[in-house]
């Protein structure tokens, strides 16, 4: 393992974990955020199922099951996974991955020249 690999890697993991924990922290401090998040996930799951199965009873049943599992039972896991999906899907991971080590955390300041 090369020197200088581990600390930035740990830092990246910590940053990603912190970002994933943000919705959980917010929902602990602001209960309204939790309800908003639940409503958003419900709508999102319903639209996801509707896009595949179309409008009908089956869509309501399947989205109901998925909402029960992911929103009612596993809300925090789903929220953390969704944040990770957003970070990666919107391309923000590149900013984090390349921005953090070059921002002076992975190397000494003035080590460029």
């Amino acid at each position: 393992m090369k020197r200088g690999f581990l600390p930035p890697m740990i830092l990246l993991v910590i940053v990603f974990v912190f970002l994933m924990l943000l919705p959980i922290i917010f929902s602990e401090f602001f209960p309204a955020f939790k309800w908003l998040m639940m409503a958003y996930f419900c709508i999102m799951i319903y639209l996801f199922v509707k896009r595949i199965l179309g409008s009908g009873i089956v869509t309501l049943v399947v989205s109901g099951i998925l909402i029960y599992i992911f929103v009612y039972q596993l809300l925090y896991i789903f929220a953390a996974a969704y944040i990770l999906y957003l970070i990666v899907g919107l391309g923000l991971s590149g900013i984090i991955v390349f921005g953090l080590p070059s921002g002076g955390l992975g190397r000494k300041a003035g080590a460029v020249k």
């Binding site: 090369k2 200088g4 199922v49 590149g94 070059s102």
Partner: protein, 133 residues
Amino acid sequence: MDPLTIIASLNPIDWILKPVTNIMDTVNLLILGFKIVVLLFIVQFVRGRFGGGPIVTILILVLGYVVLFSNLAPILSTAMFIYLFIIFGFSMLVMDLAIAKPWARGGGAEEEGHMTGKEYSERLAKGRARMRF
């Protein structure tokens, strides 16, 4: 009170087993949810290629059974999971970390990223001067 009775009343096995069973419950629920999502992806895939109709429904059921419940399920589910990872863009993150190595010290690309405008223009001027001679 008998010490054994006290230990039994504390029920130490339960302390160990309860978190484990809770975690297993959560994992099982997660797997069930993912199975439904994978079934939806199969429906989308088959309908996108073959349209609607009874034969397509049978095909969806067969594919669903093979992917989710047959002996091949562990292999196919893993493949499906990797496929989902790729289409959601997680592979880009892995590629960034594994190939681009943003923490590498003294890398050329990284140094260029650190250059100020003044340094860049100086470097350009040096390059031009070198080209003249």
